[in-house]
């Protein structure tokens, strides 16, 4: 058997503040933070009527403190209850306001527990309507220590003459290379000048879509261009080329890929082809014997 029972004094208790607490709450209503000085010179925030160290009355001297303060310790509230100051997760913290010798308990709206640490600098977030109550401060919030700087640049990219020529051929399922007029090295993708000797390249060479893996990495970090993790990115020396291309290897478990392995391009169906390297899904083993590197 169980029954809910509510104990609540109708309208709430009326509490007489006395001059010390009353002054503190009056200043709060004006969005000011003050502490009271003890006979020994310490500044108590929140103020007390009697110094806990000596039992003597505090002095009548009021000291402006804060508004910033430092978190001394804290506890994270992951699931706020109805009576809590915030509806979203927050921290209860001991906050020592600048100029005070004691700490005040209040809520810190830090977004996540990771943002909380002893030493965190915080400032009060005041309510617009204040009544002379500790909840006139809705919560404390961390000082600004960083900002987000969104940068977005939009480019119109043209592949250029040589790469356009290469990609046009890729649409037809052909890998186009170019032979240097001077040193006779064959570069793929087709390019307009030789990186080795600077000579313009004019002779086009259609290369087969077969080649040899010279070396590779097994990537265990995801990449939008790879179907799964792990995936293999490999240097593939196409038959007849003098420079390798870097491409995905598929159709074989990552740990069965070998240096010297023979591979062939796996093309997407003809109807789906565009002028882009996306035409090649990946390179897959041909089953031929490995090549001696």
């Amino acid at each position: 058997m169980r029954s809910e029972h509510v104990l609540e004094f109708p309208g709430g208790y009326t509490r007489t503040t006395g001059p010390v607490i009353g002054r503190f709450l009056t200043e709060l209503r004006d969005a000011r933070l003050v502490g009271v000085r003890t006979a020994q010179g310490r500044v108590l925030v929140p103020p007390l009527e009697y110094d806990p160290a000596t039992g003597e009355p505090v002095t009548g001297e009021w000291v402006p403190v804060g508004p910033a303060g430092t978190v001394e310790s804290w506890a994270w509230v992951g699931t706020p209850r109805p009576g809590h100051p915030l509806a979203t997760p927050f921290a209860w913290a001991l906050i020592r306001l600048d100029g005070a010798d004691t700490a005040l308990v209040h809520a810190v709206d830090a977004g996540s527990a990771k943002a909380m640490r002893p030493g965190l600098r915080v400032r009060p977030r005041w309510r617009a309507e204040r009544a002379g109550h500790i909840t006139d401060i809705e919560s404390f919030v961390p000082e600004v220590t960083g900002m987000v700087a969104p940068i977005r640049l939009t480019y119109q990219i043209q592949p250029g003459e040589a790469l356009s020529r290469f990609l046009a051929k890729v649409r037809d399922g052909i890998l186009l290379g170019g032979r240097c007029d001077s040193c006779h090295a064959v570069y793929v993708p087709f390019r307009s000048a030789c990186p080795q000797c600077g000579t313009p390249i004019t002779e086009e060479v259609e290369l087969p879509d077969t080649g040899t893996i010279t070396t590779f990495a097994i990537n265990n970090l995801p990449d939008p261009r790879a179907p799964e993790v792990p995936f293999v990115s490999a240097y593939i020396l196409l038959d007849g080329a003098d420079v390798p291309m870097i491409a995905l290897v598929g159709g074989v478990p990552a740990h069965e890929v070998r240096q010297g392995m023979r591979v062939r391009a796996v093309w997407v169906p003809e109807a789906e082809r565009t002028a882009s390297m996306a035409n090649i899904k990946w390179f897959a083993p041909t089953g031929e014997p490995d090549v001696e590197l």
Binding site: T145, G146, A149, I151, I157, P159, L163, F166, L167, C180, C183, A185, V186, Y187, P189, C194, P195, Q196, T214, T215, F216, A217, I218, N219, N220, L221, D223, P224, R225, A226, P230, S233, A234, Y235, D242, V243, M245, I246, A247, L248, Q259, S276, M277, L293
Partner: protein, 382 residues
Amino acid sequence: MSNRCAVIGVGQTKYQTRRLDVSIAGLVREAALRALQDAGLTFADIDAVVIGKAPDLFEGVMMPEAYLADALGAAGKPMMRVHTAGSVGGSTALVGASLIQGGVHERVLVVAFEKQSESNATWALSTHVPFSASLVVGAGGYFAPHIREYMRRTGAPGHIGTLVAVKDRLNALKNPYAHLRIPGIDRKTVEATPMLWEPIRYLETCPSSDGACAMVLSSEAAVTGTPAWVHGTAMRSEPIFRAGRDTVSPQAGKDCAADVYRQAGITDPRGELDVAEVYVPFSWYEPMWLENLGFAADGEGWKLTESGATALDGDIPWNASGGVLSANPIGASGLIRFAEAALQVRGRAGEHQVDGARRALGHAYGGGAQFFAMWIVGSEKP
């Protein structure tokens, strides 16, 4: 003959994942002020400022040199920015040195930085431009195949990369500026971490760091304090795609090393140098660069690593500071290598000092192992 040039001040920030307490300007200024303090100078004593950093896309700050002029006391002075990808820190030092060697200035402040926490370098290096006919996945994805090829060619056993990962992190425990500090790290610790880009494990890669490094370079007449003398400087580059390019041991690296050794009168780097700070962002690059830089014959670099020769108590310590594997504010990483070389020959490397170091190599590489920068510094005048 060029004029003599010396390093008279070195300043570094503590390298860490996030420096949330300072702006980029505050970060570079911290390093610059420490370098000036080391030299016993102020900004007023500096004639020109050279700043280096890796691609602007890393922080999304275009032309950072314009923004950072005030922070580096460059108002009314010549200031320029250098960019050669990952080798930029080294190139920055060399551009600064050339201004002294050419007699243009008496004192030059060189600074390099990266605040990696403001973005993500792998994103910045993998922007997937339309029409690209190639698939590269971040720096690790690019370098892993070359490491695999090194292992195939030399028959190096699989644990060599792990040995370097452990050795450099043990050195880092002696360097108060190092980012990664893993007390008690051993082979098991490294081997227990996952493969990211096989054959590269997580702890065989460098961390992402925020940090800056600065040096004050001076002419012979303007030296203050304890100088490290520049005995040789060299830069080389090569195209990333060219027929017959050796991506395991790039020709540009060999040529750059030959040039800097010739200037310093060195014929046997292992025997004649006392310590080397070499850009090793993936642990396997130690044996690879041991060969490329002539410390070991082709195919023998891994044996040097395995023998312990490159450890702090070996005959040729590599990366006594903990190296790039222990702190990688990318744009600054090359300059840190050059600065650590200078600290060693000045006898100011603290707990990771190599006893009696008289000549040291600073090395940096970048891009697809296509940009190289090196210098040799010594405790005595060249």
